[in-house]
């Protein structure tokens, strides 16, 4: 995210993006919650990228004796179909991370687009986008997701991603719009206007970089809810049951009455992973709440030497 900096002679209270990111890095290291969250997320990303390193077995092959308990060969035992549970958990990470990041990024992108556009275009645009956002905010999301997914069954992961993205951008859009509105009156933007920059330039080059922290926070929120919604939909059977994912593991566990037939790990383990990943996103988000505002608030009028 390297934004070419235009060298303005006066510091009008604007914080360049690279500066903001460097500050973020320092803040993460110093805040315990943020560190914990980052470590967890990095761990999951690594597992998603290199699952074969950790789990040798093929997760979908019904290769072993069913319902085996914990052992050195099967760290979590086997499912009722003879699949290695640990392998499923490890390989399933990939599907979950893909959903989390894709939906997170896409939703945030839409939210930024709509939130900032509404704030800057003003007038009828603002009013109509506002109404759209508010309506979507108020309609209960999960039931809507269920209905859409029910009509679009058998679509697999891609449909899940599309459906969740299409419906969950409203909360963060609203937040972004609020912040964009408060920024509208800042001096550095006034300066840009006076300079004669086009509105689009102002939005893309000046406003959005300043909102970095909120955008990152939005991404984390959206990723968190993507994971929860997607695994919930897979759990109730609206995903593709043949994909290897934590949510589909839960679906199969539920269908086989895992809790009542002495295979509690089949249900508990994937749920714990979802909780852990979700917690990672939530911790990071919470930490951002704490450090974001004071550290990244536009600096008061004072001459400062900017590092290149």
């Amino acid at each position: 995210m390297s934004v070419p900096l235009s060298v303005a002679p006066l510091d009008t209270g604007r914080v360049p993006a690279t500066h903001a990111l460097a500050r973020m890095g320092r803040a993460i290291r110093s805040n315990r919650k943020a560190t914990a969250g980052t470590v967890l997320i990095v761990f999951f990303i690594l597992v998603a990228l290199f699952p074969g390193v950790i789990a040798r077995d093929n997760p979908s092959l019904d290769a072993y004796k069913p319902k085996l308990g914990l052992s050195a060969a099967h760290l979590l035992g086997t499912t009722a179909y003879g699949q290695d549970m640990f392998a499923q958990l490890v390989w399933g990470t990939r599907n979950v991370m893909i959903i989390a990041f894709t939906v997170g990024l896409a939703t945030t992108a839409i939210a930024v687009l709509i939130g900032v556009a509404a704030a800057y275009l003003g007038g009828l645009w603002d009013a109509s986008l506002n109404v759209l956002t508010d309506v979507l905010l108020v309609i209960p999301l999960f039931p809507l997701l269920i209905v859409i997914a029910a009509y679009a069954r058998n679509g697999g992961t891609l449909v899940l991603i599309l459906v969740i993205t299409a419906t969950s951008w409203s909360y963060t859009a609203r937040q972004l719009r609020s912040q964009a509105l408060t920024l509208r009156s800042r001096d550095f933007l006034e300066a840009a206007r006076v300079r004669g920059e086009r509105k689009l330039y102002v939005i893309v080059m000046e406003v959005i970089p300043t909102m970095t922290s909120l955008i990152v926070a939005s991404f984390l929120t959206n990723a968190l809810y993507a994971v929860l919604f997607a695994s919930s939909l897979q759990f109730i059977g609206l995903g593709d049951p043949n994909t290897v994912s934590w949510g589909t593991m839960l679906y199969w566990a539920q269908n086989n009455a895992a809790l009542q037939t002495g295979q509690p790990l089949w249900a508990i383990a994937p749920g714990a992973c979802i909780a852990a990943l979700g917690a990672a996103f939530a911790l990071l988000n919470y930490a951002f709440d704490e450090i974001g505002n004071p550290a990244l608030r536009p600096v008061r009028r004072s001459k400062r030497v900017r590092s290149a």
Binding site: D62, A80, R153, N154, G237, N242, A257, Q260
Partner: protein, 563 residues
């Protein structure tokens, strides 16, 4: 804050106390409510998940109501046992005989039978019933009037039926599957199709008293024509909304007669009591259905190869948890119809036992060789890669398909599962808009004829794009049709066996479908509370409560165990 916690403790304690008070112990069966003069006692709780509350309608010609009314309140002329190759038990008819050329059938009706309102049953009621469903085709659930031409009362206790075509196998639908209703009540109903029949009057062993949306209670019929029957005074049929609630009540002993799919049945159910048992009688084949109009699948060697490549016992143990045994390529469900199986014929094909080497041989003979991507390809560049449609909601079918996919992959045939919703699947299947499907027919009968006909008779199939409710693979062979028609014309058991043998030959040589596992009836029973259950050693009736009129046979044999 402390005040709140104190209240919290009191409230929680109160709730737990009420919970303890109302948590019921497994229902005792010795609530002696005697029925009439029969000395009936005990309460049997039925456990069959229907997924909805009861509508309290008991119209025996309404597909949604049949399972709670026929067998309990209404009876047929004859009981025909599909599990014993059609062994018959006279019910409302005492005897019957086929006329010349098997185109007429005479029933002698039992005397001394009364409806629950005291009116005696006569042949008039029987004739009326059949003519009623002729007049209102929506009531003709089994389509008997497609083969009947007339039904008339030819005596106070005699009915004669004339056929428009030879249809001996239809005896099952006419005599066993048609409930007899009282003429004096039904002739007054303006619209019998919509008639709810909330207070049904029949000749059966039970009466409805009362019905609520959550539970149907049946009481023994004191006027029932079999002396000393039924032995159980009260039946309860709760409305379960989900499988979990139904399974749970079986496992804790509150219900005794189950018709449930229970995953992990050993830990879930059997381990809870030494009196808990199950028996899953196999009844129909679950098969891979290739679309025979597909140019690659129309090659019989490809289909034969597939039949050799699939490890059926493995599909059964992994996909179906061993509940459904492996099927055989002859399409004869065993052990139910074992007496019909021609083992020597099966032997000619090595029983189609799992043999990947042979499968590859056959594919080579068909002109295929292994491509660089691991998929068999022929000289024209066509790959053996197909999509197979499956019902996504049937998790055991989805799991079975995973095993099948693995097995076929090992011989170079690629199958990509497409899990559809129920209706989407049926739409594609019936229209022939699929490459391969995974399916189980619904028709059961007293011999393999009924299922095999559904797969092999070209009279019921349809061109691609049109609906075919049977023979969806579009198998068309006039010789096979002739065989099937000749079965319909004979009552000779020897001839019937010979025809079935030839049909098995068709299945083995032409491989129009590939049976994989044998679909079963789910059935659980509690021997601590009642005796007389149908078992594998004594299959006197189909065991599930929803199978009518077999359920009546079970109800008549069950006796409460005195404690």
């Amino acid at each position: 804050m402390r005040r709140l916690t104190r209240y919290g403790v009191i409230i929680t304690a109160g709730l737990l106390a009420t919970a303890a008070c109302s948590s019921s112990s497994p229902s005792s069966t010795s609530t002696s409510t005697s029925g009439g003069t029969t000395g009936a006692s005990g309460t049997l709780v039925i456990d069959n998940e229907n997924g909805a509350l009861w509508t309290c309608g008991f119209n025996p010609f309404n597909g949604s109501d049949t399972l709670v009314s026929v067998g309990f309140v209404y009876e047929p002329l004859v009981y025909v046992n599909p599990l014993q190759s059609g062994a018959t038990t006279p019910m409302l008819a005492t005897s019957w005989s086929w006329g010349a050329g098997n185109k007429s059938l005479v029933f002698n009706i039992r005397q001394g039978v009364k409806f629950t309102d005291g009116t005696p049953l006569t042949a008039a009621d029987v004739a009326y019933t059949f003519n009623l469903i002729k007049k209102y085709p929506a009531l003709d659930l089994t389509g008997v009037w497609s083969v009947l031409s007339s039904v008339t009362q030819t005596g106070p206790f005699q009915v004669t039926m004339n056929f428009s075509t030879e249809a001996v196998p239809w005896f099952y639908y006419i005599a066993d599957q048609t409930p007899i209703v009282p003429m004096h009540i039904w002739s007054t109903i303006a619209n019998p199709v919509a008639y709810p029949d909330s207070h049904p009057v029949g000749t059966g062993p039970y009466m409805v008293s009362p019905c609520t949306p959550a539970n149907i209670t049946y009481k023994a019929n004191p006027h029932f024509w079999q002396p000393g029957e039924p032995h159980i005074a009260t039946l309860k049929y709760p409305a379960f909304l989900s499988n979990n609630t139904a399974n749970d009540d079986l496992a804790n002993g509150q219900a005794q007669w189950g018709a449930q799919y229970i995953p992990g049945i050993q830990q879930f159910y059997l381990s809870k009591s030494p009196n808990f048992h199950y028996w899953f009688p196999p009844v129909l084949n679950v098969s891979l259905v290739p679309n025979l109009t597909n140019p690659l699948l129309s090659n019989v060697k490809v289909r034969q190869a597939m039949a050799y490549a699939i490890n059926r016992p493995q599909v059964s143990s992994i996909g179906e948890s061993g509940y459904e045994p492996a099927a055989n390529q002859a399409g004869i469900v065993t052990p139910t119809y074992s007496s019909w199986l021609d083992s020597s014929l099966m032997g000619q094909y090595a029983n189609y036992t799992f043999d990947p080497a042979k499968a590859k041989q056959l594919l080579a003979q068909a002109g295929y060789h292994l491509g660089s991507n691991g998929i068999m390809v022929n000289s024209a560049g066509k790959q053996l890669a197909f999509t197979v449609i499956n019902i996504g909601d049937y998790s055991d079918w989805v799991a079975s398909m995973q095993v099948i996919v693995q097995d076929l992959k090992a011989v170079g045939i690629q199958l990509t599962p497409d899990n559809l919703t129920n209706t989407a699947f049926e739409a594609d299947l019936y229209r022939g808009e699929y490459q391969i499907a995974y399916y189980e027919q619904a028709t059961i009968g007293p011999s393999p004829y009924y299922e095999l006909t559904d797969w092999l008779d070209s009279a019921d199939t349809a061109p691609i794009g049109k609906l075919a409710a049977t023979n969806m693979e579009r198998y068309i062979n006039p010789a096979t049709d002739a065989l099937i028609n000749s079965y319909g014309a004979t009552t000779s058991v020897a001839t019937q066996h010979s025809i079935i043998d030839q049909l098995e030959g068709v299945m083995l040589s032409a491989v129009p479908i590939i049976p994989i596992t044998e679909g079963v009836d789910w059935y659980q029973y509690d021997t601590g509370s009642f005796s007389g259950w149908p078992t594998q050693g004594d299959p006197y009736a189909q065991p599930p409560v929803w199978a009518y009129p077999d359920n009546e046979q079970v109800l008549l044999r069950l006796k409460p165990i005195a404690h």
